[in-house]
């Protein structure tokens, strides 16, 4: 195995004509990290990946690998492998040749090529396909060939470009786990590019959430999900995403309250923090659907809402609830006995409340 692989991206900017694909991006990938670049299409994640691979060049800024600047290093000298979204098949050769290709290019002796290809393909469960034509393979198999091609080189690091996008839902579920395990087994540094929040969360250890050419938050999966630093991240992760309710900060007697129009929430305990972080009184109250507690009629302090629709999601249930003019998702981990149109009593536990500044869109709490 190779030594370490630390990737450091510093103030990278890349423009295509008038559009800015990457806007002063800084990212630090430590050795053996499994990082996801997550964002909607056009957020710059693919451009960033291509800059790392060497298929594209930043206009300004630097990329370092183990302390060495690699901006001008051609892709084949970077010791980074890339698994392409559409599998990038070489049509002129069979499965064996498709996997052996990087070794051929490096003039590795014949018997070693054979040994390494066989070994890698066995490990990925495609050993029996080596003599097949690429066109005969299904998507799952093609993907594994792409993966084998990346692994057979024994690179320092590898990149996965939307690895599950072309698969149907069932296959995606299976491959997702397998892929994660394979990456873990190799012990290599890896970066996966994805537009699907679930894919990013399930596969990676750390997520860099991107939008409009910037990295908004870069943190562990847990932190990105539970402590989003801005409205975009809060909404983008989770399905359904975080409930985000516009609210006005008001002073009632001695209490500092968030007034959503439908209900008010006493946030006096966070008075200092709010005062410190914003002067704005227009805020956004956030809470994850699964963090809302469902209580019952006896609970006099509960917020009462009307269930607009009780969606069955297998073992779980999502109640789309209307509270006056506020509409929220309430996710119950079990199936409950509520029907469309029923009243539901809810509590918003203070420990799971998030508060954002409406103007800057940044998190306060």
């Amino acid at each position: 195995m190779k030594d370490t692989a630390n990737l450091k991206i510093e103030n990278v900017t890349r423009k295509f004509g008038k559009t800015t694909a990457l806007n002063n991006v800084t990212l630090n990938v430590e050795d053996k990290d499994f990082v996801a670049l997550l964002g909607p299409s056009g957020c710059g994640k693919t451009t960033l990946m291509r800059c790392i691979a060497g298929l594209d060049k930043p206009d300004t800024g630097s990329i370092y690998m183990d302390g060495q600047k690699i901006n001008d290093l051609p892709p084949q000298d970077r010791d980074i492998a890339l698994v392409f979204q559409f599998y990038a098949v070489y049509p002129g050769t069979n499965v064996f040749g498709n996997i052996a290709f990087p070794l051929w290019a490096r003039k590795v002796p014949k018997d070693e090529v054979k040994r390494r290809v066989t070994e890698t393909s066995e490990r990925l469960g495609i050993g029996h396909l080596l003599e097949q034509k690429m066109s005969k393979l299904n998507v799952g198999e093609k993907q594994r060939v792409g993966l084998a091609r990346a692994l057979v080189r024994q690179p320092k690091m590898f990149l996965l470009d939307e690895p599950l996008t072309n698969m149907d839902a069932r296959l995606r579920l299976i491959v997702r786990g397998e892929l994660k395990r394979i990456v873990k087994d190799t012990g290599l540094t890896a970066i996966v590019v994805s537009h699907d929040q679930l894919e990013a969360m399930t596969m990676a250890d750390k997520i860099a959430v991107m939008n409009a050419g910037r990295i908004l938050q870069y943190d562990t999966v847990d932190n990105v999900y539970h402590d989003p630093n801005c409205l975009f991240v809060a909404d983008f992760l989770g399905s359904p995403g975080m409930n985000l309710i516009p609210a006005t900060l008001t002073q009632k007697n001695e209490m500092l309250c968030l007034d959503t129009g439908a209900f008010t929430l006493d946030v006096s305990q966070h008075r200092e923090l709010i005062r410190e972080k914003t002067t704005n009184s227009e805020l956004v109250l956030g809470i994850r659907p699964e963090r809302i507690r469902i209580s019952d009629e006896k609970d006099k302090d509960a917020i009462v809402g009307k269930i607009d629709r009780a969606e069955l999601m297998g073992d779980k249930q999502n109640f789309i609830t209307q509270i006056a003019n506020v509409r929220i998702n309430v996710l119950s981990p079990t199936v409950l006995d509520y029907e469309d149109g029923d009243n539901i009593h809810l509590r918003l536990p203070m420990e799971y409340i998030h508060i954002f500044d409406k103007t800057s869109e940044m998190a306060i709490l």
Binding site: A169, L173, G177, R181, K184, Q197, M201, T202, Y225, M313
Partner: protein, 363 residues
């Protein structure tokens, strides 16, 4: 609005059998989902119901009247295509008006209906726009409008949400159902996404290889799948299915597979009576397995953590026992790492047993 009944439809393309005795029905005002993988015959079924494709055999009844040989224009069925099939040379207004014009509606009636539909779908501000300049979500609404404007007896929606992005899909699945219930038009939609079917439909027909495997309400499809296919296809991840052998030992009946053993003594008679052989399949949903770091009961299954996939407030743990991988859904609060030794206890009351040969449920 109408009742629709599809009875034993078959269709063969060349040597490929697309539909193999497709049967289901929709009540007046019902929202029915056809759920199945691509290639299961869902779109072919729609095209046959709409009349642009002929069936080899079988019947379609609309309010108990057979309509097999009625031409599409006389069937009074509207269909929204997955591609949306908007006429690119017409603006939104003319796209919506088209079905009415074809049926010889009067100008002012057309205008009234188009405006009413556009308002309901909140595209009334787009009426003069060219469809090529609309966003994906807007195009989808225009397509829906084209299907609804005529108030046909039956509306078919071919994968209505597939081409939308994740967030919009979430929003539209709610909205679509709401509008459907509001106007009460009998509607059938098809989808490869089990969550869409579970959340939207009144009843779901799970389709495989051109045949309905199970036709029931969401809750029944999910909790009591009739076949291994339905069990696997619903849920995300689907039900764990473990091939087992039936054995009797010390007076109890167990199902075993390489490190796994399920005691089914309670249901022994049922199994003996229904099973076609010794080969059975045990099915259990990922959420019906309890995982812990220490053994709590003697029956707990020991194994190791193969992969951990956090999904937010829950996580999916791939649990490896022998050569089997079993997916378990549990709260994210439980911290595990790859290779950890853990113990799993299935919730036996949620356990299902299927016959391996037929794939059908035993209990």
């Amino acid at each position: 609005m109408a009742r629709v009944r599809i009875e034993g439809i078959t269709k063969t393309f060349g040597s490929k059998r697309a539909l193999n005795g497709m049967s289901f029905d929709a009540k007046d005002g019902e929202l029915v989902a056809l759920l199945g993988p691509s290639g299961a015959g869902k779109t072919t079924t729609f095209r046959i119901i709409a009349g642009v494709e002929t069936s080899d055999s079988g019947n379609i009844y609309m309010d108990d009247v057979p309509i097999n040989d009625v031409s599409p224009k006389e069937r009074d069925v509207a269909m929204v295509f997955q591609s949306y099939a908007l006429f690119p040379n017409m603006n939104v207004y003319r796209n919506l008006a088209f079905p009415l014009r074809m049926r010889g509606f009067k100008k002012d009636k057309i205008d009234e209906r188009v405006k009413e539909t556009a308002k309901m779908l909140r595209i009334d501000h787009l009426l003069e726009r060219e469809v090529t300049f609309l966003s994906g979500g807007e195009r989808q609404r225009v397509a829906l409008g084209g299907g609804m404007v005529r108030k046909a007896k039956l509306l078919l929606l071919d994968e209505p949400l597939t081409n939308l992005d994740a967030k919009l899909r979430l929003h539209m699945r709610l909205e679509l159902r709401k509008i459907q219930k509001e106007i009460g038009q009998t509607t059938i939609f098809n989808t490869p996404d089990q969550l869409e079917a579970l959340t939207m439909a009144d009843r779901i027909a799970v389709v495989k290889d051109g045949k309905v495997q199970q036709y029931d309400t969401s809750i029944n499809i999910y909790n009591n799948p009739k076949t291994t296919f339905v069990a696997d296809f619903t849920g995300s991840p689907g039900m764990n299915l473990v091939d087992c052998l039936y054995k009797e030992k010390d007076g109890s009946a167990i199902l075993v597979n390489d490190g796994l053993a399920f005691d089914i003594t309670q249901n022994r008679e049922l199994v003996k009576q229904k099973a076609s052989g010794d080969e059975l399949v045990v099915g259990i949903r990922p959420a019906d397995l309890n995982i812990a770091k220490e053994r709590r009961a003697e029956n707990d299954i020991p194994g190791e953590v193969y992969v951990v996939e956090p999904t937010g407030f829950t996580q999916i743990i791939d649990f490896k026992v022998g050569s089997q991988i079993i997916k378990i859904e549990t709260l994210a609060a439980l911290k595990c790492d790859l290779g950890d030794k853990v113990f799993v206890a299935p919730n036996m009351s949620k356990l299902h047993v299927f016959d391996k040969k037929t794939g059908e449920i035993i209990y």
